[in-house]
């Protein structure tokens, strides 16, 4: 039905009402860019009254550079009919009467009315949505930043621990060597063993200082709602279960106490575990990711991340938490090592269980926050 929508005078007034009361801004311009329709929502959005706008060039509602270029766009379109924005929506900026700008979504349609070409614009203010997106972005970048610091600290702590073992062996062998050289042994041999020992001790002290340096950053823990923490991690980590065809289920026991955690660090652990789980399920027929939160012991809250992937072989399970061990082509193999470091620094534990229904279960505990003092 290509004829007019308007059928009788009563419908005419209904149509006017539709335009007037629409929540979104509705505007019509002609080929010259002059405004022909400008509804109440537009008045609210731009701060101009209809009387100030009707019959004038729409570019006054645009900030630079569009303000100067819009006439050119229009004549280019009229000449070539090459569509850039028409028929699609786009995020652009609007300019208010007071000169300030705001982000808006603009969709443009075109048509012919009484032989005249017109363009219909529908405008939605998206500043709130943008502010929300920005907030999420800020949180994400904060997480990334803290994450990097934590990673560095955990890598250093992990290395300190790993290096300590060979150093211990070196020092022990050296001392045994000194014994073997004996009281009356070659003084040069004894001197060499002595020097090896000194250097091993020196390396040990470097590690000790490194450790002290890492610990200096200190923990940043507070009483947090674990369910909220998990919920945020799902959003911040861009797990996007729907896009990956994953059925995500979060079950939370009732009346859980607050936990004493560094929220961002624990969210890092969660995101890491969830991403691993999601990756493990790529290509699997059944893709179910379950996060369960419950009370473990009187003073611990347990979080489990269960996937329905292929599971983890016994051989891999043994060394899964070691640094630089990975099953991924591009992984550094630090993720789970860091996660375990974070959880242990909280006084908890992180471990792997195999899922009887197929797949892997990672569980970790974090301590319940002490009751606030009366």
């Amino acid at each position: 039905m290509s004829s007019a929508i308007v059928k009788n005078p009563e419908d005419d007034s209904l149509f006017d009402a539709l335009i007037a009361f629409a929540v979104d801004g509705i505007m019509v311009i002609d080929e010259a860019g002059l405004v022909r329709v400008y509804n109440r929502a537009c008045e609210r959005l731009f701060g101009y009254a209809a009387a100030e706008i009707l019959g004038r060039n729409v570019k006054m509602l645009m900030p630079a550079p569009y303000h100067d270029e819009h006439d050119g766009y229009l004549s280019h379109y009229v000449a070539t009919r090459e569509k850039h924005i028409i028929g699609i929506g786009r995020e652009v900026s609007g300019r208010r009467k007071d000169g300030s700008t705001f982000p808006m979504n603009l969709s443009v349609g075109e048509g012919v009315v009484r032989g005249e070409h017109i363009f219909l614009g529908i405008i939605t203010d998206i500043s709130e949505r943008q502010a929300r997106d920005r907030k999420i972005q800020e949180l994400q970048s904060e997480m990334l930043h803290v994450g990097r610091l934590t990673d560095m600290g955990q890598v250093a702590a992990g290395l300190a621990h790993e290096l300590n073992q060979p150093l211990t062996a070196i020092l022990n062998y050296t001392n045994a060597g000194l014994d073997i050289a004996g009281e009356n042994g070659d003084p040069d041999v004894k001197s060499v063993f002595g020097k090896i020992g000194e250097q091993a001790t020196r390396a040990g002290n470097i590690i000790r200082r490194l450790r002290a340096f890492i610990e200096k950053r200190g923990p940043n823990r507070a009483a947090e709602d674990i369910a909220r923490t998990v919920d945020e991690a799902i959003r911040l980590g861009q797990i996007n279960p729907a896009e990956r065809g994953i059925k995500l289920r979060v079950s939370v026991e009732h009346d859980l106490p607050n936990v004493l955690i560094d929220r961002i660090q624990i969210q890092q652990v969660l995101i890491n575990l969830m991403k691993n789980a999601a990756e493990a399920m790529e290509g699997a027929a059944r893709r179910e990711l379950t996060i369960a939160i419950g009370r473990a012991e009187p003073n611990l809250v347990q979080v489990s991340v269960t996937d329905s992937g292929p599971g983890i072989s016994d051989e891999m399970a043994e060394k899964l938490f070691q640094p630089f061990v990975t099953t991924k082509a591009t992984g550094m193999g630090m993720g789970l090592n860091i996660c375990r470091g974070i959880v242990e620094a909280h006084g908890g534990r992180l471990w792997l269980e195999s899922n009887p229904a197929g797949g892997a279960i990672f569980r970790f505990n974090v301590p319940v926050a002490p009751e606030p003092e009366e």
């Binding site: 300190a160 020092l171 001392n175």
Partner: protein
């Protein structure tokens, strides 16, 4: 001949085990090596003329759990705990549960041998829960502030953490720590933990 003084080395790192074995044999101890706490517990070792030198951080069963298992199944068998850096709170807990000493890796031979001698002296003469219980609480000789620092130290807190908790500078904590060690004649944190345990009934 001191025929039977056997040190059971429990560490998941083969090279650490081997090096300890070599060092201790040169010092005339017999040695037995175990790659895990479970293997050790399954070996049916008895307490006589034996002590255990165990790493605190091992997969499956850690040193602290091993200490508890030994308390339950081989009471009287002395345990020395080896720690990496950062495991001090766990090591302190192990001492509270009866470990003789903890050694921070890497350690000098003299320190290791000193700890072993203490351990064997205990198997030879003293009942495992020793006479310390009759001693006065060591905290009596300390000032109020020193007592606070002492209590946090023996819980395994780092100086930095203690400074934070008490709202004083790290430097001040170090000074207090030095005075506490002097007053109590302690040479190491392990000594302090031992002293703190001595003041309490087990």
């Amino acid at each position: 001949m001191s025929a039977g003084r056997t040190v059971c080395i429990v560490d998941d790192d083969a090279d650490v085990r081997d090096s300890l074995e070599m060092l201790l044999r040169r010092s005339h101890y017999r040695t037995l090596c175990f790659e895990s706490a479970r293997v050790f517990l399954d070996a049916g070792i008895t307490a006589e003329d034996t002590c255990v030198l165990a790493d605190i951080r091992m997969p499956e069963m850690d040193g602290l759990t091993l200490q508890r298992e030994i308390n339950r199944t081989i009471p009287g068998l002395p345990v020395i705990i080896m720690t990496g850096h950062g495991d001090v709170p766990m090591a302190v807990q192990a001492m509270k549960e009866g470990a003789i000493e903890f050694l921070e890796k890497p350690f000098e031979k003299a320190i290791l041998v000193g700890a072993l001698e203490t351990a064997f002296a205990r198997t030879a003469t003293e009942p495992p829960t020793d006479a310390a219980g009759s001693r006065q609480s060591p905290r009596k000789s300390l000032t109020e502030r020193e007592r606070q620092v002492f209590d946090l130290l023996v819980e395994g807190h780092q100086n930095k953490m203690i400074a934070h908790k008490l709202g004083i500078s790290v430097r001040t904590v170090e000074v207090h720590r030095g005075r506490i060690m002097d007053k109590l004649g302690a040479r190491s944190l392990a000594d302090l933990v031992r002293l703190s345990l001595a003041g309490k009934p087990r």
